[in-house]
Symmetry: C2
Subunit: 161 residues, 2 copies
Amino acid sequence: ARPRVGYIFTGKTINSLVAQRINKIKVKDVCSFPFVLDEQVSIYDAIVSMFMEDVGTLFITKNGYLEGVVSRKDLLKATMGGMDVSKVPVMVVMTKMPNVVTINPDDPILLAAQKLVSREIDALPVVEVKTLANGEEKLRVTGRITKTTITKLFVELGETR
Amino acid sequence: ARPRVGYIFTGKTINSLVAQRINKIKVKDVCSFPFVLDEQVSIYDAIVSMFMEDVGTLFITKNGYLEGVVSRKDLLKATMGGMDVSKVPVMVVMTKMPNVVTINPDDPILLAAQKLVSREIDALPVVEVKTLANGEEKLRVTGRITKTTITKLFVELGETR
């Protein structure tokens, strides 16, 4: 085991020690509680939920399984588009499966951060695969990773004495 | 100077080396280009700009100096509130100075990340103080720090070999 204090043999730079530390953190270590809504909920109610829960992205389910994701941007577009937001269900404006970018609880948090950056999204649903009786695979949402999660983790790493 | 490879004398844990590395990074090293709009611009035009530039927060100026900040959330509220968004200027719905949380180019990026988390905001204007002829102090916006900036930096730190 590596000594915790004193000389550290690295054969490596400080930068690669930093990378090594970051690569040990898993999604399940830092993810937060997911907020989900059924796909039949109206756009209006989705907007109200977004304000009540103070989240930027909502995960949308059907029979409890992930069907889509809706962002503040999607909802802002909907309100600008002259839709009757109290009648139209949120499923009309959401990004639908299989186009939803997801992450698994055992994945490294670095992969989650890479997906947030490269796919230009604010949040990722943390999912577990469930195989139904008919063999179909569905996703259960068990958590949430956002740019806020990563920013909080960065603060935590930076504040360590 | 500390050797870059081999044994590192630390008297410290790996975690504190990570913190030390993070604490060396300044706002000006990583901030991105700011997008600003004049306070007289309509809410409608602000929303269009937000989509065109694909940013979540706009910095609002008067005579080129920072006057406020407007988020997707503020604009979504405005569209829901039944305002005539093509007539009402963005200044009506923005968070106004002195309540705008800002950061300086020479501040550590850790302080920026701490402000983003503790103030529950998505973006910080990077500002420089200018003293006018009448002695009044105004802020010029020179950059932008967002949770995306921090997430990108986290990825960069994690990807180093």
